[in-house]
Amino acid sequence: MTTHSYTLAELCIAQCAEVWRGEGEVLATGIGVIPRIAAGLARLSFNPDLLMTDGEAYLLAEPVALGPRRARDPLVEGWMPYSRTFDLLWGGRRHALVGPAQVDRFGQMNISVVGDYTKPKAAILGARGFPGNSISHANSIFVPNHSTRVFVAGEVDMVCSAGYNPQRWPEGKVPSTLRIGRMITDLGVLDFGAANHAVRLLSGHPGVTVAQVQEATGFPIVVQAETPVTPAPTDEQLALIRERLDPRNLRGTVFKGDPPGDRR
């Protein structure tokens, strides 16, 4: 039930949290402001079993608010240095929500370079842990600027995160451990649930048309006869986001002008 108005950031946080529903006792890794708040929201509302880290080397017994810590240190429930993180993630018990620079129709992602590999137009980070993450555990995607620059035609410039592209795999077999969850964007929610893992539109955010989503995507998306409208965050979710997880309103800086979630 929603009685309050809400921002686009809050709508995205509520939808991002959904990637961890029903995932059980896995490590929830959210990269960036909205994914991090979303992991905390999932933990506090419908998946109390999630593991979360402080982003450095400890597991937290409870989610912490973003930004400078209060006087009290967060309650720690374990140690998670990088060596242990790799051991955990290779075992598959993790679901990450990441923000790649490019995504293609196979769910392949790029955070390394844009343009020519030897003399790139833009060098970003490097492959990071994307290759290992993608073959080991579930990954979902948050894209704050849904456009053909991010959702590219063809393949991404450097495939860091493996996807559902049979041509990339030995004997053309995509491994069963590869699982790409949802893609939450500023326009809607998508997944790879159509035939042959094609991208489909699950819902459009209030005030966004299907044509708008397709136009901003560099490959065809599968749409339903009637595309649902993304549900509003509940009052309970909004209270958790505003009072508990992000009292300093860092989420207000994610989208230019902090627009409302309902753009009708």
Partner: protein
């Protein structure tokens, strides 16, 4: 054996073209005093293995890199290192771009003295396409699966920053994450530690502290006392990431700004001069630990 030496002694033992592992992770516990000593030296054509931060950016900007073996270069809170970015975009050095976990496996293979370790990591991605030197193997067991044969990353030298060490090479890392410094140490022919403080063996170790030792002293070649030697990266416990300094570093991208940065922070007679140039002990000690 007394292994105490100066940063200049360390660099004098390095050679052009060597493969050097640099410990730490991005903006945490990087052996920056040793990195700056390399910048001041005539060393060149280095191959660097690093979970990269400003160590890579500085060496790239100083033209010391022939090749970078890496999973990423980042300043964490400031996601992009502009010096790495500019040099990478100019094609200034060769790259062996890997998954972070593959870097670990390559070091581990070197430690184990095996030519490679098998892993599914890298399959389905451009990491195997962009590194034609990395080969695939088939499991000899019933699964017969195809795997990546991650080659051993043997190091000529490792440069690591630890919290405390003694003159014999015993050391402890008291920060929350030891990263892969232990593997880098064992994968290297020569291992040089910088540390916040050189202390007596009786002080460095006891039954509680022994587990913070990354490796036994026989791994270690030399020990350099360099208080605040990880600055501008974090040296917890003690000091956090100097974000203000990293911003200044990251902004020094024109040739004039870079020359000014070098003159002010790199081309200095001693490490004490560096500590003074970045604001002195009191200021560094007041930098809070990182919050993510």
């Amino acid at each position: 054996m007394n292994k105490k030496m100066t940063a200049a002694d360390v660099v004098a033992q390095l050679r052009d073209g060597m493969t050097i592992g640099i410990g730490g992770w991005a903006t945490r516990r990087k052996p920056m005093a040793l990195v700056r000593e390399i910048m001041r030296s005539p060393l060149r054509d280095l191959t660097v293995v690093s979970y990269g931060g400003p160590d890579v950016g500085l060496l790239a900007a100083a033209g010391k890199l022939r090749k970078l073996i890496f999973g990423f270069v980042s300043l964490d809170v400031l996601p992009l290192d502009m010096h790495f970015r500019n040099a990478r975009q100019a094609g200034a050095f060769e790259v062996m771009e890997l998954d972070e976990g593959m870097v670990q496996l390559g070091l581990r293979a070197a430690v184990m003295r095996v030519p490679f370790l098998p892993t599914p990591v890298g399959l389905g991605t451009d990491v195997v396409v962009r590194n034609p030197g990395i080969r695939l193997v088939r499991s000899p067991y019933d699964d017969a699966s195809t795997l990546v044969a991650m080659p051993a990353l043997r190091l000529d030298a490792a440069l690591l920053h630890v919290t405390e060490a003694d003159e014999r090479g015993n050391s402890v890392i008291l920060s929350p994450d030891p990263f892969f410094d232990d593997l880098m140490g064992r994968a290297a022919d020569r291992v040089y530690l910088s540390c916040e403080q050189i202390v007596a063996t009786t002080k460095i170790c006891n039954h509680d502290r022994a587990r913070y030792q990354p490796f036994e002293r026989s791994v270690v070649t030399g020990v350099v006392e360099a208080p605040f030697g990880a600055h501008p990266t974090a040296g917890v416990p003690g000091y956090g990431i100097d974000i203000d300094h990293l911003k200044e570093y990251n902004a020094a991208t024109t040739s004039e700004a870079w020359a000014a940065y070098r003159a002010r922070y790199v081309d200095l007679p001693t490490h004490d001069d560096y500590v003074a140039a970045v604001g002195g002990r009191l200021r560094i000690n007041s930098i809070p630990p990182p919050v993510y």
